[in-house]
Amino acid sequence: MTEYLLILVSTVLANNFVLVRFLGLCPFMGVSNKLEGAIGMSVATLFVLTLSSVTSYLLSAYLLKPLGLEYLSTLGFILVIATVVQLTEMAMRKTSPLLYRILGIFLPLITTNCAVLGVALLNVQEQHNLLQSAFYGFGAAAGFGGVLVMFSAMRERIAHADVPVHFAGAPIGLITAGLMALAFMGFTGLARL
């Protein structure tokens, strides 16, 4: 039990995927202008990431490893991820077209959200089992989503602040992310095993 708690604490706080591990930054910067969009993206990522973490674990444990095909991991994982994302995209387009519009180009880009492939690769590297992989994927996405949502709420305020002109937009966004990372330094050492 503590083990799973630690995985969550580690992925969400101490080793937050976005702010500490630098994974998933493109959607982090790209979909954070509006709170609604950020929430939608977080939910989508939560779903995709957990699912793909588990499926890629299965792929790795039951196909690639037994056959000695570890060198195909990247390819295999990305295939799994692309498919999961594509299915999610189609389902969302059908069920919530507006959300689909807001998330715009970013849904297909979940495929290329490093966090997703990163989770799959890290699962292998850290020798997680099935449940650990699920928790790891979920925690990574929760950390990503939580930070994304907070960030977008902050950006809505920044958008109308009197920011020096050359800093408006992406620069102040990145500096804000930097200060968030600074705050997250406080969690270092939290998930010591």
């Binding site: 202008n33 509006k34 792929l59 056959l67 390819l75 295939l79 299915l87 507006l98 807001i102 009197d162």
Partner: protein
């Protein structure tokens, strides 16, 4: 060697199969976004966007055929609202479509009007009353100020008049901007 190729190939094919199935299964039929876009458009129905009315323009935007900056009556705020809805960057109004003008209504000079009914046919919102060979009038409250009735009139008796504001429609003005923004020490006082 062979196992590698076979396994990944089988995997790829399976995924392809699944995707093909899903793309048929989740086909999108209608686009409620059109309605939402249409709701933002000002409904002036003036055609300046190069579409024959607001709804067609809305459809074009939803299709991705038109930019969001082609509606002059909607102005910057309209573009901003569209950008917010669609999650894209706001862009300045395309000058080719015209520029935003203050709201005005058409007034027919009833002395000159010959009752040709041409303007009635042009009005997209049925704001002109009249019958053949009788004097026509514009229902000011219903006129959207689209200008479409001006060209057909054979005697040029229609004029666009800005809607004036009278004292009893007076509303509180926008306060002066914050001093730091203006860069001068000025108090929010107006001398009487």
């Amino acid at each position: 060697m062979l196992t590698a190729i076979i396994s990944i190939t089988v995997l790829g094919s399976l995924f392809g199969l699944g995707l093909g199935w899903a793309s048929g299964k989740f086909k999108v039929d209608s686009d409620p976004v059109v309605d939402q876009i249409n709701e933002i458009l000002p409904q002036t129905q003036c055609g300046q966007c190069n579409y024959p009315g607001c709804r067609p323009y809305a459809e074009a935007i939803a299709q991705g055929d038109a930019e969001i900056n082609q509606c002059p009556p909607g102005g910057e705020s309209g573009i901003q609202a569209l950008a917010d809805l669609l999650g894209v960057e706001a862009i300045p109004l395309n000058p080719e479509n015209g520029e935003q003008k203050p709201k005005s209504v058409a007034v027919i000079d009833e002395a000159i009007c010959i009752g040709c009914t041409l303007c009635i046919q042009a009005c997209p919102v049925d704001a002109i009353l009249g019958a053949t060979r009788q004097m026509h009038t514009v229902i000011a409250a219903e006129c959207t100020g689209c200008d479409l009735c001006l060209p057909p009139c054979p005697v040029d008796c229609i004029e666009m008049v800005e809607v004036p504001r009278s004292v009893d429609e007076w509303t509180w003005p926008k306060p002066g901007n914050r001093i730091p923004h203006a860069g001068i020490h000025k108090l929010p006082e107006t001398s009487g």
